[in-house]
């Protein structure tokens, strides 16, 4: 091969089409939604129960109730102690994990396909007959309090916690840490867990996603057998409040003396999952900070070496979640990094992305879609999203087309509507003695200092 031909980027071969695998939808008589997808690459199955039981439902006084209730499911059932439950699951190689977010609680099971019947029976037992023994609840509450202590001393968590608090108005759920605070976790009890389950772990309003080496008929029969007796309806959700704390820009230093790095968070209230700008924002955010070759990373990392990495995220939720740019940088370059990041954000909003950038972002997002759907767990999580946000079952059929059809103008419009540089709060967790002066010299906004927890 000649040196010249080496210089030519090899052409792509013929495209093989990718379709999101067909989703079978059914509803049990008790209102429990079933979604199943048969994929047989490896003989495993992921089964995921999706409950309308997120932390976003809870006021500050009950913050962490959903997370703790989920954690306490391992405490046992009407039939088994916690130890017996763990042994029953692990003997068949099944893993049970609970994921609590702002919008939902998911209880997921993964196992080899030939153990699905036993595993599903245990999954149902855990959801329908959790027992919340007092000593187990007490233990798990103690573990959560210790985890909160860890969070309060972790530099990245300190900055994120402060950023969320300063983004949302007093009392807005999204303004607190997901797992609650020491105060809100303190009163947790078996009764509180049982009452939460009675209100929110109900078949009507919930669903089960099963993905793997199993067909729809088997799924239906297994779900009927194990979840058929379950009854009840999930209570209605309260409206979620997403008032911002401020519309003024400013810098807040959370002081950690002798910190070797500064944790930076820049953002404001972002968008809900239902935003009409959803696809344009995905493209826009890729240009700003969603990929390695995004503007922020090429500037802060590859040009200046300020950081190991930087990213921008729109955390879309039922209500408007935060938009946040996050990075960790050397103490001596903190103000420089803030200046560069703010300049990149401001310029992108004012001038918009280029046609070339939008093109690259569209190609990336459309192309990477099948890569993110290789595993049963990934597919199940995508389908769970449809249940949580009440999106149609065929939503993913034209997902890539919708990404590809985003125009330059739409991406720029999304930037102008969803990013407001004059309303950004910059939070810097770091050594105030070293960084406060340079941050003030930026002249970008008022700098205030608070003590780390």
């Amino acid at each position: 091969m000649s040196a010249q031909s080496r210089s030519v980027v090899p052409p792509a071969g013929p495209v093989r089409t990718f379709d999101f695998p067909p989703v079978q939808a059914e509803v049990l008589d008790n209102g429990f939604q079933i979604r199943s997808v048969q994929v047989g690459r490896v003989p495993v199955v992921t089964a995921m129960v999706v409950l309308d039981a997120g932390e976003g439902l809870l006021d500050h006084g009950r913050g962490g109730l959903s997370v703790l209730t989920g954690d306490c499911l391992e405490g046992g059932t009407a039939k088994r102690t916690g130890v017996e439950l763990a042994e029953a699951l692990e003997t068949i190689g099944a893993g049970l994990s609970v994921g609590t977010g702002w919008d939902s609680t998911t209880v997921s099971l993964s196992c080899m396909a030939d153990r699905l019947d036993e595993a599903m029976s245990l999954l149902a037992e855990v959801l329908i007959h959790p027992s919340f023994p007092a000593d187990e609840v007490e233990r798990i509450r103690g573990q959560r309090l210790a985890a909160i202590r860890q969070r309060e001393m972790n530099p990245a968590d300190i900055a994120t916690t402060a950023s969320r608090r300063l983004t949302y108005a007093e009392g807005v759920p999204y303004g607190r840490p997901l797992g609650g605070t020491a105060e809100s976790v303190e009163p947790f009890s078996p009764d509180a867990a049982a009452a939460f389950v009675a209100a929110r772990y109900r078949p009507k309003g919930s669903g089960l996603v099963v993905v793997g080496d199993v067909d729809a008929e088997q799924v239906r029969s297994l779900v009927e057998t194990h979840f058929g007796e379950w009854a009840g309806e999930t209570e209605l959700r309260p409206e979620i409040d997403v008032q911002p704390r401020t519309s003024e820009r400013g810098i807040v230093v959370v002081d950690r003396t002798d910190s070797v790095q500064s944790e930076i968070r820049i953002g404001h209230v972002g968008q809900a999952r239902s935003t009409p700008h959803y696809f344009a924002l995905r493209v826009l955010n890729t240009v700003l900070g969603g990929a390695f070759t995004s503007r922020l990373n090429l500037n802060l990392r590859e040009e200046h070496g300020y950081t190991y990495g930087v990213r921008s995220r729109f955390m879309v939720r039922r209500g408007a979640g935060p938009w946040c740019v996050s990075t960790a940088v050397g103490t001596d370059v903190t103000a420089d990094a803030v200046r560069e990041a703010v300049t990149e954000i401001t310029t992108l909003v004012a001038e918009g992305p280029t046609e070339e950038e939008v093109d690259a972002a569209r190609d990336y997002l459309a192309g990477v879609f099948p890569l993110q759907l290789e595993t049963t767990g990934q597919i199940a999580a995508r389908i769970a999203e449809l249940l949580i946000y009440e999106l149609p079952d065929d939503y993913y059929a034209d997902y890539r087309d919708r990404i590809r059809s985003v125009t330059l103008d739409e991406a720029h419009e999304a930037a102008r509507r969803c990013i407001r540089p004059n309303e950004m709060t910059v939070v810097v967790g770091g050594d105030s003695a070293e960084i406060k002066g340079p941050l003030e010299e930026l002249g970008w906004g008022p700098v205030t200092v608070e003590e780390a927890p």
Partner: protein, 431 residues
Amino acid sequence: MLSIPIERLTLDNGLRVNLSQDPTTPVVAINIWYGVGSRNEREGKTGFAHLFEHMMFQGSEHVPKNRHFELIERAGGSLNATTWFDRTNYFETVPSHHLELALWLESDRMGWMLPAMTQEKLDNQRDVVMNEKRQRYDNQPYGDWDEWIQAMVFPESHPYHHTVIGSMADIEAATLEDVAEFFRTYYVPNNAVLTVCGDFGRDEALDFIERHFGEIPRGGEIPAIPGEQSLDPVIGTTVRERVEAEVPLPRVLIAFRVPTYTSPEFYAADVAGSVLGTGRASRLYRSLVREQRVAKDVTSFVFPLTSGAGMLLAWATGFPEGDPVELETALIAEIEGLASVTEQEIERAVALTETALARQIEQVGERADLFSMFDQLFDDPERLNSELERLRAVTTGDVSAFVDRFLGTDNRAILTYVPEAAKKTPTPSAR
């Protein structure tokens, strides 16, 4: 028993190639293991293998800086690399019609990296790596644990004595000369394994590989690993360190020298590690977390290393007012108690490993990495398909014998973190 198809061949320049087809999803993974890691670093050059990995993303003769990322992201692919004790791996997963692009990019940096190297790029990536160290190690509670543990378990003359991230002074001192020498020595086809896994045509893939990698010249013999690799199977005593640091909770870590991954005894160590700390029915979780309530969380795992010895590590994190001595006593009691392991416990451990492995190989990128590993470490990629059988063959007697031999007081490194006297009174975080 797994039966993932695998074909292996070797190019004339010594590059080992593994091909494993699976057309179920139109994606393909390519993965390269270079037989070089932190164990190959000489004194004064620690952290260099990892810094070099960063330099591999700075372009090559026919690929300008950032172009590798741009092309792969544009293709809808994902990419990364990692450096470890015994190897450095580079990998891309792309939609299957972009296979040739990924192979071309990997071949260009295997064959033509040096012409693109500049002092400016080195300075930039040195800064990036130093920030990586600050972010992941220095500015993290307990972030320096591996530095302590490796130094306690392996003698100064041994290649596992120092960490992969290395010393910042050594990183500061790295030169372009070092980059060139390291490249010529280790980044040669005869020190690499290339695996392609997923949706592709065999003949076409082979043709791409021949065309892009075939002309890269074979390198010299790979130099011996510096230092003294062979070492006593056990540490010889109980080594202790106590660290007062800005940590929220006390934590006790305990590490043991164990047989290497390439030794038949390794599997008993692996099963022992799982029985001890994998899952909520494991001994540590059940006893320390659930029953005695002295630990907030527990962990145990085995490092599958190949030079002289590996490591089994367990740790327990205590509660704010907890006594680290009590925590250590409880941890050691469970470790010693492993000698009475039951068949049911081994069955559970193997069942959990089976599900974990099945879930791992759902991704072609993970499959490719495993094939590369088994080829590089065992000269036998097929070994992936029979790995579970070796775990299943472990008996209670094997585990007991392992515990007696390797988990005693003559083979322990115990590292205790205690929170330094609080500087401030903690306050609730939501105001």
